[in-house]
């Protein structure tokens, strides 16, 4: 099995095996979770299978023909970045699915749960290994959809539905913009293939100089930030916490939300090294980092705190990937890549802890907890490891990546110079302080202090091994990465950074590296962090006060206002657009017709009125014309139905008389008959419609209608004189053939009738079908009475 | 042309002229006479006779060729149907309360209808 096959299998096996999961579920019943775990394990093994080659600097790239017409193949690409994500996705997937065996009640719809988890995992793997932009987008949106379904897992709960909707709207919409960005990118490069762009320096140069550069970057970043809950798009993530906790751990902390980060990392070689990149990526990152860290204080739901913390931590990553200068495009790449790995582990671990706590205490409200360390000692230890890692306490992995973040911030500040030299590190430290504070809050709030008198179940204890073991595994990783940083740095972070920077990154991550400025910053962070923590409650109280006083100062407010009022806003538009009366619609049609007629009159015509018009007619025809107009006017203006219909009937007879003069006896015959019949049918209908309604026409309405009518008349007139007199058709007509062949070939003297039944008998077949249709329609009309209610 | 032919020709032209005149007069009556019933007199009688005259004239001119035969068929048909049309319309008009003109001196039909209504 070659590496490409392995990756392909790693991506598609989850889909296939999830597809048959409902069948398997019939056999395994409540143990179906282990089946899902096995699938995740399989994917993990497949990723591990290809990892060595990638670590040794070999890129995997292969494709299967999929949409050759559009130039898109199903192609996969494995480099350091992909492999790291591959490990995170499948590894955490394995952990989560195992954990779920303990967490999910057997009363739940387990097949649906695991099926969607596996679909998600497959999509995520597909996304990170995608070698072309469109394929990436496809898997990207698939993750949005599966996330939507998983958030709404408890689909009858309004809050779940709300959260699911929000996440879908934000992420899928962002995805569409990202797609547009990809298309713009493709219009610059002519290819959707990512490696082809990445490996082509000149192409990247072209992109950077292209006038659409900013547009492409902006569109792609909309996708990335919406997915990673950055900037104003953060709003969906807190509400996504309605999902079952393992889902939150998996999707909304460890993997899916990192898709945006993945995209930024992926696009890093293409867009970085420009001011726009730094301003947009790091700018959004820093703002989000601070805002989300700050907003976490107000949360009382454990998962809420974790959600804001996730947003904030992802913002770290954004910030770091955004650090760039023309000379040194990847200042923060290594730091970011390492922190990414660490965040996946400590945040997933925290979520699992949160899950355990909620599972045991039946609440997620941190204000109702406290002092659980005695009852749940194991959980407590695991939580402390993860939280302290997040807070950046040595010797845990989080400390290392935070140090690297400070280093990169210093470097970036120096590179920028001026006031940035201090501002950027200062902001980084501020972020660290906030992180420190809420990390401590988690431990303190849940496990330390006094057990509240009411609200918690009597017997609280550590859960069974099914839930502890996966959590412990993550905690172990945190400790391991902290103590032996060379393992991640050598096997994961190095290749990742290397693949982004397309140069072998020389990483030396060590626990102790002397009294560097970054260590100073860390110390400052701790000090300030502890100070901040003492003010934690009052800050939270202030936030609550502020929020209730100024509800409008919030992105959520606008989201809710937009979504809730979407219907009202649009229905105003819709009812204005669709007033409902035929008259408006007819007017619209006629106006369009007139406008369309005017276009060629203005643009093309030389003579609107052709020369040599023929006014020569027998006098009786002229009189006949007058009669016709009078009869038509009668039909139009006589106020009551019957006189109008009689007038119309008169018009019909006059028309048939005109047909006589036009040498069309067949037509005259038909017209006479049809006229009489339609008069009878008019009567049939009017019999049942006593006339009560008479339209009052205001002068303005009348003027408008007469104007439109006159314009229509004029249009028809101009068209007719041009079509019938303006040119003499220089071609032979079909009629020549009919006249010539009616008798010899079709055996009929009456050419019109021969056309009707023979030359164009097919038309007549249609025509009699129409007659039948009228009959059916009338039958339906008559028999619809009372039965449709 | 034989004598019979000439006689036929003259007769035919007379019929034509008289027929046309009658048709025209009938239509004139439509404008001039005061009420529905009187107008019906002119259209059914004069119009029909006029039309019949013209058809007869055509028959005389062309003999029993398709045109002639059809012409006389048309004439017969008008004679058959015109009175019915007149009858139906006048009946409807009267029963629907279209009154006689002021010059009218008697309405025995109206009395009957009033009696019926009162019952």
């Amino acid at each position: 099995m070659d590496s490409f096959t392995a990756i392909t299998l790693a991506v598609f096996l989850p889909f296939v095996l999830a597809g048959i999961l409902p069948m398997v579920g019939k056999v395994l019943k409540n143990r179906i979770g282990w089946y899902a775990s096995a699938v995740a394990f399989l994917s993990l093994m497949l990723v591990a299978w290809v990892a060595p080659a990638v670590i040794h600097g070999e890129d995997i790239h292969g494709s299967i023909s999929w949409l050759p017409s559009v130039g898109i193949d199903l192609s996969f690409y494995g480099d350091g970045l992909s492999i790291m994500f591959g490990f995170i996705v499948s590894g955490i997937g394995l952990i989560i699915m195992s954990y779920s065996n303990g967490y999910m009640s057997t009363r739940e719809d387990l097949p649906r749960y695991y099926q969607q988890l596996l679909f998600f995992m497959g999509s995520m793997l597909g996304m990170v290994f995608s070698a072309n932009l469109i394929q990436l987008f496809i898997f990207w949106e698939l993750t949005s959809i599966t996330s939507f379904l998983l958030i709404g897992y408890w689909r009858n709960r309004p809050l779940s539905v709300y959260g699911a909707t929000k996440s879908l709207l934000v992420t899928a919409t962002g995805g569409l913009f990202m797609l547009a960005g990809f298309l713009v990118l493709q219009s610059m490069t002519g290819t959707f293939d990512i490696p082809a762009i990445l490996q082509n320096e000149s192409m990247i140069a072209v992109i950077k100089g292209h006038e659409l550069f900013i547009l492409a970057l902006l569109l792609i970043l909309i996708g990335a930030t919406s997915k990673s809950a950055q900037g104003p798009f953060y709003i969906w993530l807190p509400n996504a916490m309605e999902a079952p906790t393992p889902v939150s751990a998996f999707l909304h902390s460890a993997t899916m939300v990192k898709a945006g980060i993945y995209l930024v990392a992926r696009m890093h070689p293409i867009f970085s090294g420009t001011d726009a990149w730094f301003i947009l990526v790091s700018g959004v990152g820093i703002i989000t980092m601070l805002a989300a860290g700050f907003l976490a204080f107000r949360q009382t739901d454990i998962k809420g705190i974790l959600a804001y913390s996730t947003i904030s931590q992802l913002a770290y990553l954004m910030t770091m990937y955004g650090y760039t200068t023309h000379q040194h495009p990847g200042i923060g790449v290594a730091a970011a890549s390492f922190h990414l790995l660490n965040h996946a582990s400590f945040k997933a671990c925290l979520f699992l802890v949160a899950g355990i706590v909620a599972h045991e205490t039946a609440t997620r409200d941190i204000t109702k907890m406290g002092g659980l360390r005695k009852e749940m000692p194991v959980t407590f230890i695991l939580a402390v490891i993860a939280a302290l890692s997040m807070a950046g306490i040595p010797p845990l992995s989080g400390f290392l990546s935070k140090e690297m973040f400070y280093e990169a911030s210093l470097e970036m500040g120096q590179a920028l110079g001026g006031s940035f030299t201090y501002m950027i590190p200062a902001l980084a430290v501020l972020g660290g302080v906030l992180t420190f504070a809420y990390s401590i809050k988690l431990i303190d709030g849940i496990f330390l202090g006094k057990r509240p008198a009411h609200g918690l179940p009597e017997h609280i204890h550590d859960p069974g091994w099914v839930m502890i073991l996966p959590t412990a595994l993550l905690a172990l990783l945190i400790v391991l990465f902290g103590l032996v940083p060379s393992i991640p740095s050598h096997y994961i972070v190095g290749p990742t950074a290397g693949s982004i920077l397309s140069e072998t990154a020389d990483l030396h991550i060590e626990l102790w590296h002397g009294f560097t400025p970054s260590l100073m910053m860390t110390i400052v962070t701790f000090v300030l962090g502890i100070l901040t923590y003492t003010r934690y409650e009052s800050i939270a109280a202030w936030q609550n006060r502020f929020n209730s006083r100024h509800p409008m100062i919030s992105v959520n407010y606008f989201y809710d206002a937009a979504v809730d009022n979407a219907k009202n806003i649009t229905s105003g538009f819709s009812s204005r657009m669709q007033p409902g009366t035929v008259k408006t619609y007819v007017t619209a049609l006629l106006l369009l017709l007139l406008v369309l007629f005017i276009i060629p009159v203005i643009q093309i015509s030389t003579d609107v009125i052709p020369a040599g018009l023929n006014f020569d007619i027998p006098p009786y025809e002229a009189i006949l014309f007058t009669f016709m107009i009078i009869a038509a006017l009668g039909a139009a203006l006589l106020p009551r139905y019957i006189p109008a219909v009689i007038s119309l009937s008169g018009l019909g007879y006059l028309v048939s008389l005109l047909f006589i003069y036009l040498s069309a006896p067949d037509l005259a015959l038909t017209q006479v008959l049809v006229e009489t019949l339609s008069t009878i049918i008019f009567l049939l209908a009017i019999v049942k419609i006593p006339q009560r309604f008479r339209e009052r026409m205001s002068t303005s309405v009348l003027t408008k209608d007469i104007l439109i009518s006159s314009a229509v008349a004029l249009t028809v007139f101009i068209l007719m004189i041009n079509a019938t007199q303006g040119i003499v058709s220089p071609f032979e007509s079909l009629s020549h053939y009919f006249i010539e062949n009616s008798l010899p070939l079709a055996g009929g003297h009456n050419i019109v009738n021969v056309i009707i039944v023979d030359f164009r008998g097919y038309d007549t077949l249609g025509e009699i079908s129409v007659l039948c249709l009228a009959a059916f329609g009338v039958y339906n009309l008559i028999h619809s009475r009372g039965e449709g209610e | 042309m034989s004598t019979a032919g000439i006689v036929l020709e003259v007769l035919s032209n007379v019929f034509l002229v008289v027929g046309l005149l009658f048709v025209f007069l009938g239509m004139l009556g439509l404008v001039r006479l005061p009420d529905v019933y009187n107008r019906l007199h002119t259209t059914t009688k004069i119009g029909t006779l006029g039309a019949f005259g013209v058809m007869l004239s055509i028959l005389m001119k062309v003999g029993f060729s398709p045109i002639g035969v059809k012409a006389i068929t048309v004439g017969m048909f008008l004679l058959l149907t015109a009175p019915i049309a007149a009858h139906m319309i006048s009946r409807a008009a009267h029963r629907h309360g279209v009154g006689l003109c002021d010059e009218s001196v008697i309405d025995e039909y109206g009395k009957v209808n009033t009696l019926k209504k009162n019952e």
């Binding site: 007038s647 006479v672 | 139906m88």
Partner: protein, 87 residues
């Protein structure tokens, strides 16, 4: 040269004027119906004349049909006026 029948046709066209007048001006519905019926009679005459003038039997067919069918129409309207129903 204008044939006699051409004159006839022009004369008949003039005969339509009163019919149109009544159709439009009424005053009662029966008036209009009579006028419509009368108009068909005039048209029948015109068709006859035209048929002869053109030497073509085809128009006579139209006249024949019109004379029959107009009757149907008039009777229907009359019944409607009288009884308020048709069938």
């Amino acid at each position: 040269m204008i044939s006699m029948f051409t004159l006839a046709i022009i004369f008949m066209v003039l005969a339509i004027i009163p019919c149109i007048y009544r159709i439009i001006m009424g005053p009662t519905i029966p008036d209009r119906v009579i006028a419509l019926d009368a108009m068909t009679t005039v048209i029948v005459v015109m068709l006859g004349a035209y048929s002869f003038d053109q030497g073509s039997v085809f128009y006579m067919d139209v006249a024949l049909v019109l004379s029959i069918i107009a009757f149907v129409g008039t009777v229907t309207i009359a019944k409607y006026l009288d009884e308020g129903v048709i069938l």
